[in-house]
């Protein structure tokens, strides 16, 4: 490590500590015991927070709404509670008893918001933070937290890219992207940045979620903060209360007919084949001479894979906060079958949170949350080798799913003269017989010890551990495969993968908080060490004599290339501190910084420093707005800071040797080795500098609140495998290069249009995100993705290909237009000669390709409506995106004009002759692959379609029972529908949010977003449930 840096760190840390310990405790006036009762609309309010303004003295009300606190005359009590307007009451003379009436709040400005390393009153927050309580999300019948958050939060784009249970959620905060580094936000659970899958956490364990968006709020997470930070706080008991809650729901999921990709039925397909041979002036194979024989005899391979699937969830929560012990226990069981046969997702979870007040000065806390997740998803998503659904979509509908006796066929192959060039396995068999399961055992444990030696000072040490063990098992017997063109029997194969990882974190934090007159400040300083280690072993084996026994030892082959073990490890040492100051609660200032030393960074560049600062001004506290009847709250805020992205791989800095570059000599395997990467001792993090400005407004006693943010951020030093000439023997050099600029606007509005017996509240948000690539590496102005280009001066990852102008209408058109030499014919796809050289070319930097679409929306939005009338409640959540395109990748097969696959119904209306040119979308079939291949093999604008959508995510209707046995405090029954309806013109499949994933785990290829290859469908879910409090 760089000693100079280290010594600077030490000096800084020492300085802060010194400051903390040396500041003297301010004196204040003579206090007395003040008591009171808090109520609202005649009911006591238990659990309300009462603090003496500008001090650390605070308490919460008990079950009767009463409290007792030390306060001096002249001081002010601040009473706050979620859902109520915060009230300030002056302590007058010798009055020791107060009755305080709280008004129901329409806004949550007085709420306490969880921020990095602490919490803040929402009013005093200077960063861009959005938060949502777990209670608001409780009824949604989905498996993951991200699904629940879709459309709820401005600036947080969440797409469900596949319907596989428990998977496929892609979360992007403020459109952050990287060329090759990860783009998922950092998830922090109870202060612990986790390394495992956030989807493993039972959503019912969550008390509240805060999303930190700007640099001021995230920079305390330093080199991991650039993608935004999601803080998750798990359940705690409410003061003085013991609650037992049972939340159960059960229902079913189904894929709606509407929105499915429309493929040809058997008769239409036979008609197409007949026309194909007629147009080619070839004899029509006998099986296609009379298409009408297939009428009503369609084998719908896609539909055959689907089922109506049950879903159910049971959660029992116990919380108790009495005496000196605060405990919560959440036991959960979630059980979901998938809408594709043989899909199964189960989660058993337990959480035990305990805080114990050892004395007035010492608290300890232990949260332990083990869970077990089992999931089996057939190989549904992917291309011809692994995507059963994609393969099923383009399997001939004249091929029988079942034979005469009702048994599933083994595989189908028509005689060669019918143009059938592939053997089609029976995909239903594939789904049923393939095993593709993951079992995960996770343990998340966070512990702390807090010591408050003097008033205002807290010294806190935490020790957190995360353990994950996951076992993956894939197998296919000889009777089933996920790959097309495999005759049955195929080669039985298995993959076993065992992952063990462990991450620990120790943090030591000192916080000092005080007020001197109207000057309120907090100083936080700390240091931490985190370490992660993954041990993986994978065994791939094939060629089994017996399908019933797919063990390792019974395999004939152990596949060398797929059998390995792997260790991934990183360490992170950090120092951090924050200074928060406000004057009278209306002039707000925060500065923070974190220094991160990471094992991932090159030896010459081991430490990064990530500072930020922010200011806020509460205008509504100024004389000119105070007491304004209309404007109840107004705040301006601005922030600037620098954050990093350290998702650059663990060993990217090293020149690695591959010691499995083996050779055979004398027909014996002989070990070989080769240097396979170049080292870069200067490698470091990606840097994002972000400026944010925004305001928060409240009108009519905060009955309407409005938030706005504008941000602009520049990401530089992007991790990039800079392509280098391969005459070097290497494909690339890992370096920090380039610059991407992001900017955007975020709007959020909360309003209560009607109050009283019929209460209606609405929450809406709207986000605009833009980006532009400012620079890549020297001499490199573009990077190609699969069907994309990331090019300097243009937005990131645009669809790239040839622009379709139509089809060559006739011989004259063909003669007068640029063509592809040797390939273009009358009726074949006519493309734009973009470079103007007279011929159509594809490949290289100077061909005819151009930007043909944008996978990113113009804007995205969400709207949530809540209605209450007497005992009834209803909520409707919707969200959408406008202006984005999807690349309908599956068309390369589902519109293969050679008739080798089943096709989209629209391909029936194609070019057949100059007199019969069809709808103009699909060209002639005549000429074979030499002609038709252009249309499907050369990425072109025919693949790109608008995928704007608005989805009604959820409608829930609930009824609260009033006449109950005494043991039940309250009970509510509800019905909930998820993914109720999708409004879209996208026709390529039933999910316009689709994006092919590289790994199926949510973080796909950044350079190739928005690709549809027919993934696992997203079902509509209908459930019935009950919330019962005991």
């Amino acid at each position: 490590m760089n000693n100079h840096y280290l010594s600077k760190m030490k000096i800084r840390l020492f300085g802060f500590l010194l400051l903390m310990f040396c500041i003297s405790v301010t004196s204040f006036g003579q206090t007395q015991s003040v008591r009171g009762v808090i109520s609202s609309e005649g009911e006591p309010v238990p659990g309300a927070l009462v603090i003496v303004k500008g001090t650390q003295r605070g308490t919460v009300t008990d079950i009767d709404g009463s409290f007792s606190i030390q306060a001096a005359a002249g001081e002010t009590l601040v009473v706050s509670f979620v859902g109520y307007t915060t009230k300030e009451v002056a302590v007058v003379g010798n009055q020791t008893s107060y009755t305080i009436e709280l008004a129901l709040s329409t806004s949550n400005l007085s709420e306490v918001v969880v921020v990095g390393y602490g919490s803040q009153i929402k009013k005093e927050v200077t960063g861009a933070v959005v938060s949502i309580g777990g209670a608001e999300l409780r009824d949604m019948p989905v498996s993951t937290i991200a699904q629940k958050l879709q459309g709820r939060l401005a600036g947080v784009q969440i797409n469900q890219t596949t319907g596989q249970p428990g998977r496929g959620m892609q979360v992007r905060i403020r459109g952050q992207l990287s060329v090759s580094g990860g783009s998922e936000p950092l998830y922090v659970v109870d202060g612990f940045p986790i390394t495992g899958d956030i989807n493993a956490i039972n959503p019912d364990e969550i008390e509240d979620i805060s999303v930190l968006k700007d640099a001021a709020s995230t920079s305390l997470y330093g080199s991991r903060a650039a993608n935004g930070v999601v803080l998750i706080t798990t359940k705690k008991g409410k003061a003085g209360q013991t609650n037992v809650n049972l939340n159960v729901f059960s229902g079913f999921q189904k894929v709606p007919q509407r929105g499915r990709l429309e493929m040809m039925n058997a008769e239409e397909f036979a008609q197409f084949k007949k026309e194909y041979y007629e147009d080619a002036k070839q004899p029509v194979p006998s099986v296609f001479q009379d298409p009408s024989i297939y009428r009503d005899k369609t084998n719908d391979w896609y539909d055959a894979l689907l089922q109506t699937a049950p879903i159910s969830s049971y959660n029992l929560t116990l919380t108790s906060n009495k005496e000196r012990v605060n405990t919560s226990v959440v036991v959960g069981l979630f059980d979901q079958k998938g809408v594709v046969v043989n899909t199964d997702f189960k989660r058993f979870s337990l959480r035990l949170n305990t805080e114990y007040q050892l004395s007035d000065k010492i608290n300890i806390g232990v949260n332990v949350a083990p869970n077990y997740v089992y999931d089996n998803t057939p190989r549904t998503d992917g291309t011809r080798g692994t995507g059963i659904i994609f393969n099923a979509l383009h399997t001939w509908p004249v091929m029988p799913i079942r034979d005469e006796s009702g048994e599933l066929t083994l595989f189908n192959r028509f005689p060669a003269e019918t143009g059938n060039i592939f053997a089609y396995p029976n995909w239903v068999r594939s789904a049923q017989e393939l095993t593709n399961e993951t079992t995960r055992l996770n343990l998340l444990a966070t512990t702390y010890l807090e010591w408050k030696p003097i008033k205002g000072l807290s010294l806190k040490s935490t020790f957190n551990v995360e353990l994950n063990n996951s076992r993956f098992f894939f197998s296919n017997p000889s009777t089933a495969t996920s790959a097309i063109n495999q005759a049955i029997p195929t080669i039985a194969a298995s993959i076993r993968d065992n992952n063990n990882n462990m991450s620990w974190l120790n943090e030591n934090i000192a916080t000092y908080r005080n007020s001197i007159k109207d000057h309120n400040f907090e100083i936080l300083a700390g240091f931490s060490n985190q370490h992660f280690r993954l041990d993986q072993s994978r065994i791939q084996a094939d060629t089994y004599p017996d399908d019933r026994l797919l063990t390792i030892q019974s395999a004939v082959n152990i596949n060398r290339g797929g059998t390995f073990n792997n260790v991934q490890e990183w360490s992170l040492t950090s120092v951090f501190s924050r200074f928060t100051y406000n004057y009278k609660g209306k002039y707000l200032f925060t500065a923070s910084a974190r220094g991160d030393g990471s094992s991932r960074f090159g030896v010459n560049n081991r430490w990064g420093v990530f500072p930020s600062t922010s200011v806020g001004w509460v205008l509504s506290d100024e004389e000119f707005l105070k007491g304004n009847e209309k404007v109840s709250f107004a705040k301006l805020r601005a922030s600037y800071g620098i954050t990093g992205n350290n998702n650059i791989g663990n060993y990217t800095q090293y020149a690695l040797i591959n010691n499995t570059v083996n050779v055979a000599f004398n027909n014996v395997v002989t070990p070989g080795a080769a240097v396979v990467s170049l080292d870069n001792p200067n490698l470091g993090w990606e840097t994002t500098a972000q400026f944010d400005i925004g305001f928060d407004l409240g009108f009519l006693d905060d009955r309407i609140t409005f938030n706005y943010d504008y941000f602009v951020k520049n990401t530089t030093n992007l991790l990039f495998a800079v392509p280098i000439p391969q005459e070097s023997g290497f494909t690339n050099f890992n370096d920090n290069i380039g610059e991407i600029k992001f900017w955007g606007h975020e709007f959020q509005i909360n309003a209560v249009p009607t109050k009283g017996a019929f209460r209606w509240s609405v929450n809406a948000n709207l986000s605009f995100n833009r980006n532009e690539v400012i620079a890549l590496a020297d001499g490199i102005d573009r990077v190609y993705g699969d069907f994309h280009i990331t090019q300097v001066g243009k937005p990131f990852a645009q669809f790239y290909g040839l622009k379709k102008l139509g089809n060559y209408a006739n011989a004259q058109d063909l003669a007068n237009s640029p063509v592809i030499p040797g390939r273009s014919t009358v009726g074949s796809i006519k493309l734009e000669d973009f470079n103007g050289d007279g011929v159509i070319t594809f490949g290289g930097d100077r061909d005819d390709r151009q930007i043909i679409g944008n996978p990113f929306p113009d804007f995205s939005y969400g709207i949530t409506n809540n209605f209450n009338y007497k005992n009834w409640d209803m909520s409707i959540v919707g969200s959408g995106s406008q202006g984005q395109d999807v690349y309908m990748r599956h068309l390369f097969s589902t519109a293969n004009l050679d008739g080798v696959f089943n096709m989209v119904r629209r391909a029936g209306d194609r070019f057949r002759s100059p007199e019969n040119p069809g709808a103009g979308i699909f060209g002639t079939t005549v000429g074979g692959g030499n002609v038709t291949g252009i249309e499907r093999d050369w990425p072109n604008s025919n693949f790109v379609w608008d995928a704007s959508f608005f989805t009604i995510r959820n409608i829930t209707l609930g009824y609260t029972l009033t006449k109950l046995p005494k043991v039940i405090k309250s009970a509510r029954l509800y019905a909930s529908a998820q993914n109720v309806f999708v409004f879209t013109n996208y026709w390529g499949g039933q999910n316009p949010e689709v994006s092919m994933q590289n790994n199926g785990q949510g973080d796909g290829g950044n350079l190739s977003p928005g690709v549809d290859l027919g993934p696992f469908p997203v079902p509509r879910t209908i459930t019935f449930g009950a919330n019962i409090n005991f």
Partner: protein, 503 residues
């Protein structure tokens, strides 16, 4: 305050072990900082330099060297598009733009050959500074020098001027170099091989499959002949012939390595080592040189594997009527080299299709065989020597060498006697003796006979597409741009040209 001081001390102490904590080296992979220290490291590294030869000979080598000649053609399958990368080579329509081509096979050849060079450079750069057994070091050095020269010899014949890397690249800077003149590349090749010859052991002393002194002499002779340095070729080759290390196999059928036997036999000078199985060392080229589609039964009949799979696509490297006609009557090599099989999925009434036979052998697993690829064998050594002698006017000495090859093939002694006639006889003999061994294109281009041979070949295809395996389907005819690119050199691969500032 004492309590706090202790606390402070603890806090600061936590930083002392920071350096160790932050140094995390990869546990399951070695890094270059710790490699190239021992004899074993260098042996493994030179082994690694052989590895790309497998991919090169499974793919680009025959595409650029044999399909791109009058010996083989593709079999058009109208159901398949995206076949232009092989078609362009077979029918001489490789697209060129600013001296570059998007053809992926040209790109693959470039990349695999430079991978060999880079790995050889990794061995050669540090080896002299590391002390270990001199005999072993000489052997490793000799192999690395050979492999580097071998790759450059292929590159310079494909492209002419190429970047000349003789040290490992340090980083992004220096990863691309300007094109070196052909002469400079040949100087380096000759220098490397001249240095390699004395370092390398004879075949009998070398592990079978590794480069030998005989291989280095043969390669160097091939280089000299390409450069028309006939006397140098004779001089370097003579010791290989007299070494007693090599002999012709008794029959032509016995020449070719089998799936697990007959490898590196006494006729073999240098061959690419494949091994059947799940180790990733297998050959797949047998499956590339096939007419398609083939049913399971037809695939089983060819290879007798335990798990035959149907094959589809567009077939490649199908022997042309021209090569079939090139065999003299009674040439035993014809039936060893080519047979005719029934391809039931072939459109039209004629299902009988010629296919390369000489490399074929039964094996266990689909698309995974251990048959080696012969690069240099003693028959070629004799023909190279015959050519070197004949070109120096030593025609009488050349004829017996030629006849050794002919006799083994069941043919009478050559009737040629003049220098010109013997030159032609050797040229023809090379075609049939070395058919499908990726020699034909180099023989045509190095003798400046492209116009003479390829132009009429193209005319025959356009005139009679059915004879060249086009299906009897309306419109399925040679494209209108066939035989338009008859350049001696391939254009540079476009994907590399985009990145390199030098071409």
């Amino acid at each position: 305050m004492k309590k706090y001081s202790i606390l402070l001390l603890i806090l600061l102490m936590s930083f002392t072990s920071c350096d160790d904590f932050l140094t995390v080296v990869p546990e399951t992979q070695l890094s270059s900082a710790t490699f190239f220290k021992t004899e074993n490291d260098f042996i493994q590294a030179v082994n690694g330099a052989y590895a790309p030869l497998r991919a090169y000979y499974n793919g680009p080598a025959w595409l650029l060297g044999e399909l791109h000649s009058d010996n083989t053609f593709y079999m058009r399958n109208v159901l398949f598009g995206a076949v232009e990368n092989s078609e362009n080579l077979a029918d001489f329509s490789v697209p060129v733009s600013n001296g570059t081509t998007p053809n992926t096979n040209v790109l693959a050849a470039w990349r695999q050959l430079y991978l060999i060079i880079a790995r050889a450079n990794q061995v050669l750069a540090p080896i002299d500074a590391v002390a270990f057994n001199q005999e072993s070091k000489n052997n490793v050095k000799g192999q690395a020098l050979f492999l580097r020269a071998f790759a450059y010899f292929h590159l310079v014949r494909y492209f002419g001027k190429v970047p000349l890397h003789i040290i490992p690249v340090p980083g992004r800077d220096g990863s691309g170099l300007p094109l070196s003149e052909e002469a400079a590349v040949f100087d380096q090749i000759i220098k490397d091989l001249t240095e390699a010859v004395p370092l390398l052991p004879q075949k009998a002393q070398q592990l079978p499959g590794r480069v030998t002194q005989g291989a280095a002499r043969t390669l160097l002779a091939d280089v000299f002949i390409y450069r028309k340095r006939w006397a140098d070729a004779e001089q370097v080759l003579a010791p290989a012939i007299s070494s007693g290390q090599y002999a012709l196999m008794a029959s032509y059928a016995m020449v070719f390595p089998k799936n697990s036997t007959n490898k590196n036999n006494s006729e073999s000078v240098f061959e690419i080592q494949y091994r059947e199985g799940a180790d990733g060392l297998q050959g797949t080229f047998l499956y590339q040189h096939l007419p398609l589609p083939l049913t399971v039964a037809e695939v089983r009949a060819l290879f007798n594997t335990g798990n035959p799979q149907p094959l589809d696509g567009q077939g490649n490297n199908i022997p042309t009527p021209d090569i079939i006609a090139a065999y003299e009557t009674g040439d035993l090599r014809k039936d060893v080299s080519i047979d005719v099989i029934t391809v039931s999925g072939r459109p039209g009434s004629n299902k009988l299709t010629p296919v390369i036979k000489k490399f074929r052998d039964n094996h266990a697993q689909h698309n995974n065989h251990g048959v080696n690829w012969p690069v240099y064998r003693y028959a070629e050594v004799l023909l190279l020597m015959a050519e070197a002698l004949n070109e120096q006017g030593k025609t009488a000495a050349a004829i017996p060498l030629l006849n050794q090859v002919r006799t083994r093939a069941g043919l009478a002694a050559t009737t040629a006697s003049s220098q010109a006639n013997v030159r032609e006889a050797i040229f023809k003999e090379r075609r049939v003796e070395l058919a499908f061994e990726n020699k034909r294109w180099f023989d045509i281009m190095r003798t400046d006979r492209i116009q003479e041979i390829i132009v009429p070949y193209g005319r025959r295809i356009v005139a009679n597409p059915l004879n060249y395996y086009f299906p009897p389907i309306p419109g399925a005819v040679p494209r209108n741009n066939v035989f338009t690119n008859l350049d001696k050199f391939y254009p540079y691969p476009a994907a590399e040209a985009e990145i390199s500032p030098f071409f």
